[in-house]
Amino acid sequence: MELNFHKEEFSLAYVHAVVAVAGYVFQAAPRQVDMDGVDVLVKETSGRRSSLDIQIKCTADNSILNIDKLSYPVKISTYKRLSADCITPVILVVVLVPKTIDKWILFSEEELSLKGCGYWLSLSGYPSNYNRESVTISIPRSNIFNVDNLCSIIEKVSRGEGL
């Protein structure tokens, strides 16, 4: 199996775990075709029934990690999609995993531990970029994709606030 496949599946599992604990519905988009670059739909089951789209990337390249931010290159098509005006807000989640796959997961009778960390960013309102290939974006290291942050993102969406 290709390493990229492992990364895709692992990062989906990471996001799924966070969404499940936060109490929202996790819905994976079909992967056979490109569904506007969306990998996961997250939905509230009550209240205003807010929803959020997520595009997930996974990397084992820890050189992107700086003191206070991640410098992550995205394809220009991804940048355009994530910064475009859309019906449902969309965020990018970059899951940074250890270099070797045998370090990605730890388990025992007491715990299952996913080794790695997801960082999120909304590119809504980002300016047009005329690069041909890719754009390097900066994600604050404080933007960890965890249960608390996901809940506050959904609350903001619910109030109609920008991310």
Partner: protein, 360 residues
């Protein structure tokens, strides 16, 4: 919802107006708008409430994923498969491209009159005159007149319609040419495409008096007359009609909605055109028969056409001499009548004048 490589194309082919109508008919209520980007619809079932988001613009950057999500919810809540919804709501363009043929969808908005059914005779006569209109436009496009006004076989073969499907829950029917467009024809629009384009433009021009007058005149009296009969049949339903033309050619296709009042105005304009512009044939030949008492004539033109019909009052009043077996130049009015159930029309002839023919 099963997803394959065609899913994106199929979703893009869904008519959003039709989708909103489908939601309303299926018990969904429009609750709010998300700016000018989407509408939010909800439906109660038991203690639960479901919600779907319907984009307002197919160009939205998340159009596909929203539509996919909405189709999934409808599958679960309404028990209607995505395939069924797509068959009902996909645009004519989608069926044209997948079937490699010209497609026209007609939709009559009878539900706006709180009706759930459409009288059979309205639908049948509308379809009959739609076919007749396409035949006569096809004949204009190839520029050939044939004996007795009969539609040339190649026009009939290219523009004959068959029913692809009907729209459940509303009065709509999707029609396609029986003949497929061959691969080689894709280099230039074939007769069927040219004919359907003219028809769609004729419908579109019906929104304005001047536009209709110009377009109908360019398509000749027979087309104007058949189109008038088509609109007259539709107007019996007293509702708007939507005509959606789809073609396998990328740049081709047109969707037009004609409100009931516009249809009535268009019929008046077409009436005037048909009256102002009777089709006339001027031809030379031999007078075979002429009877002023029963006002009948028979004339064989030198180019092989036979004309049999009535003699005008003017010829009789003017005491015009009619010598049998003599050569004349005849001016003959042609009146088209749809007499068969296939949409073909027959010509009736009226002799307007006879001028002695002199061989040079």
């Amino acid at each position: 919802m099963k997803v394959n490589l065609h899913t994106a194309e199929i979703i893009k082919a869904i008519s959003l107006d039709g989708f909103a109508q489908h939601l309303a008919q299926s018990g969904w209520e429009k609750r709010r708008l998300i700016g000018n980007k989407a509408s939010v619809w909800t439906k109660n079932h038991g203690d639960d409430e479901s919600e779907v988001v319907l984009p307002l613009n197919p160009e939205s950057s998340d159009y596909l994923i929203r539509m996919w999500d909405t189709l999934n919810v409808l599958e679960n809540v309404d028990g209607l498969s995505s395939e069924e919804i797509i068959m009902k709501l996909a645009s004519a363009k989608f069926f044209a491209r997948s079937g490699m043929r010209e497609v026209i969808s007609l939709r009559l908005f009878v539900d706006e009159l709180n009706k759930t059914e459409l009288d059979l005779h309205i639908l049948s006569s509308s379809l009959r005159y739609l076919q007749a209109t396409l035949y006569s436009i096809g004949q204009v496009k190839i520029g050939l007149n044939s004996k007795g006004g009969r539609i040339p076989q190649m026009v009939m073969d290219s523009t004959r319609l068959s029913v692809i499907s009907t729209f459940p829950g509303s009065s709509g029917i999707r029609l396609g040419t029986t003949q497929q467009i061959m691969q080689g024809e894709l280099f230039g629009p074939p007769l069927s495409t040219q004919t359907f384009k003219e028809f769609a433009e004729l419908v579109n021009e019906s929104l304005s008096v001047e536009g209709l007058r110009e377009k109908a005149t360019s398509l000749k009296t027979r087309s104007a007359s058949n189109y008038k009969k088509f609109l007259s049949s539709v107007s019996l339903a007293d509702t708007a009609i939507e005509v959606d033309w789809g073609s396998p050619f990328d740049e081709s296709g047109l969707k037009v909605m004609l409100p009931a009042m516009t249809i009535k105005s268009a019929i008046q304009v077409l009436d005037e055109i048909v009256e102002e512009m009777p089709e006339q044939v001027t031809t030379s030949g031999i007078l075979i028969g002429g009877n002023k008492r029963n006002k009948r004539f028979e004339f064989n033109s030198f180019d092989g056409e036979d004309y049999t019909g009535t003699i005008s009052e003017e010829i009789i009043k003017n005491g015009r001499v009619m010598t049998l077996s003599s050569s004349y130049t005849a001016i003959i009015e042609v009146i088209w009548e749809n007499t068969t159930s296939t949409g073909e029309s027959n010509a009736r002839y009226k002799l307007l004048d006879l001028i002695p023919f002199e061989f040079s």
